[in-house]
């Protein structure tokens, strides 16, 4: 039983696909909201994000989503899944928009891939990193259940995360450098790719999130 899943909506774009993918993965109930009471009452929390980090952070703070996220993580101990810019927002700061302080829930950086970005053999790589890349699972986690190592997920981003504490890295992705594709700590799981756009593998990850009981 997944219970109610709250998808935190801080007004930065379409959360339709996240919500419908969660439904499709078997969620009992999905609500898309920034209402404090609804998020507090939910059983699971999804923290998505698209767009530019400066606007995202401004809205996250204005709507007090940062406090609700902290509450869910450290007091209520609910399973939390952060996606793409949602993951970047957890870090200490981002280079995007000339430098933006973030939530510092997971200490680490968010840096631009760089120009020009070159592969190990000198091939030029396009930025954004857009498309299906192999996710290398660097440690075991319940969210990898039934997902083979090196399964491809859909990415679209120009900035990449590096967590300071390397023991939190649950997966990495190679794109001119090694970027953190997934981070895990206690009841928090964060992914740079878009599970809601990653076809069967993405739906499996969402299903694993819905079944995840980090307290046990």
């Amino acid at each position: 039983m997944s219970g109610t899943v709250a998808v935190i909506d801080y007004g930065m774009g379409n959360l339709h696909s996240v919500a419908s993918a969660l439904q499709h993965a078997g969620a009992d109930r999905v609500i898309v909201t920034h209402d404090a009471n609804q998020i507090r009452a939910a059983d699971r929390v999804v923290f998505p994000g698209v767009g530019a980090i400066r606007d995202c952070m401004a809205e996250i703070r204005r709507l007090h989503c940062d406090e609700l996220l902290q509450l869910a993580l450290t007091e209520q101990h609910k399973p939390v899944l952060a996606i793409c810019v949602g993951m970047q927002a957890l870090m200490t700061s981002s280079e995007e928009n000339g430098g933006v302080p973030c939530l510092d829930i997971i200490p680490g950086t968010v840096r631009h891939f760089g120009h020009p970005l070159l592969d190990a053999d000198g091939t030029r790589l396009k930025v954004p990193h857009m498309g299906w890349n192999e996710v290398c699972q660097v440690r075991e986690h319940p969210l990898w259940e039934d997902i083979p190592d090196r399964t491809r997920f859909y990415f679209v981003h120009s900035y990449y995360v590096t967590a300071r504490d390397r023991s939190l890295v649950a997966a990495s992705v190679e794109y001119g450098c090694s970027a953190d594709a997934a981070l895990a700590r206690d009841n928090l799981f964060a992914v740079q790719f878009h599970p809601e756009k990653s076809h069967t593998a993405g739906l499996q990850l969402l299903r694993n999130f819905l079944n995840w009981n980090p307290a046990c």
């Binding site: 930025v127 857009m130 809601e196």
Partner: protein, 257 residues
């Protein structure tokens, strides 16, 4: 191993039906867009592009509804283009469930729209579509010019210079269609494809002219494209997406299987 090259089936939709013409005339009906999108999703397409070629306003409402239905059932990225003229149009399509919008003529009339859209919604969802036609300069060397109105109206704009400008304004991707090749099944116009892929740092989708699987391979290996878009070879059941991927993989191209 790294990032896979993408195969993107394209649905050209007129009044709620998938159609595909030869050089935009001689339209042939290929079916219900929701059903077709679902089929490509199941076949392992990497993305789907939905181009609305409906002229009427009434038809636009049908499009929004169709996009909503596709987004509810298809869990791969969906790009919607055709008739996107304002930030409001972009918002409408993103809210309906599109992951990206493709801007074409409106960018020519108002390039600032690309900058504003990219700042507001993020570069990741702004695709600029370029319809290029081969012309010759005074010395008889080939160059490519942007045409509007389904390839009938020249703009005088150089396609390569335009691609660079669009990337600078914040486009996240270029959808490049050769108007000489679209619907001909003679393969991509590789000259303009490689000229633009070399000129910009953002990904380029090659489009226009795919008639067989070797054309897809050529678009990537010779044209340097990051993704290949095709319509009729998939719509009429001639090839499936897995067949296309197997063929590409056999030619050393990394694909998602």
């Amino acid at each position: 191993m790294g990032l896979a090259k993408r195969i993107i089936p394209c649905l050209d939709v007129d009044n709620g039906r998938v159609v595909k013409g030869v050089n935009f005339v001689g339209i042939r009906d290929a079916g219900d867009p929701v059903e077709i999108a679902r089929r490509y999703n199941e076949q392992g397409a990497d993305e789907i592009t939905f181009l609305d070629i409906t002229a009427s306003h009434q038809g636009r409402d049908t499009t929004v509804h169709t996009v909503e239905q596709i987004a509810e059932q298809v869990f791969i990225p969906l790009t919607v283009g055709g008739g996107i003229r304002s930030l409001e149009d972009i918002r409408t399509m993103l809210n309906a469930g599109a992951d990206k919008v493709s801007i074409n003529t409106a960018a020519i009339h108002n390039p600032e729209l690309v900058r504003q859209a990219s700042e507001r919604f993020g570069a990741q969802c702004i695709v600029v579509a370029i319809d290029a036609k081969r012309v010759e300069d005074v010395e008889g060397k080939p160059r490519w010019e942007i045409f509007t109105h389904g390839g009938r109206k020249p703009t005088g704009i150089d396609a390569v210079a335009w691609a660079i400008k669009m990337a600078e304004l914040g486009a996240g991707e270029i959808l490049l269609t050769s108007m000489d090749r679209d619907g001909t099944r003679n393969g991509f116009e590789l000259g303009v494809t490689s000229a633009i892929t070399d000129a910009v740092d953002i990904p380029v989708i090659a489009s226009g002219g795919v008639g067989n699987l070797q054309h897809l391979v050529d678009g990537i290996l010779l044209g340097g494209a990051d993704a290949v878009l095709a319509a009729s070879i998939f719509h009429f059941g001639e090839f499936t997406v897995p067949q296309a991927k197997a063929y590409m993989a056999a030619h050393g191209i990394e694909v998602r299987v």
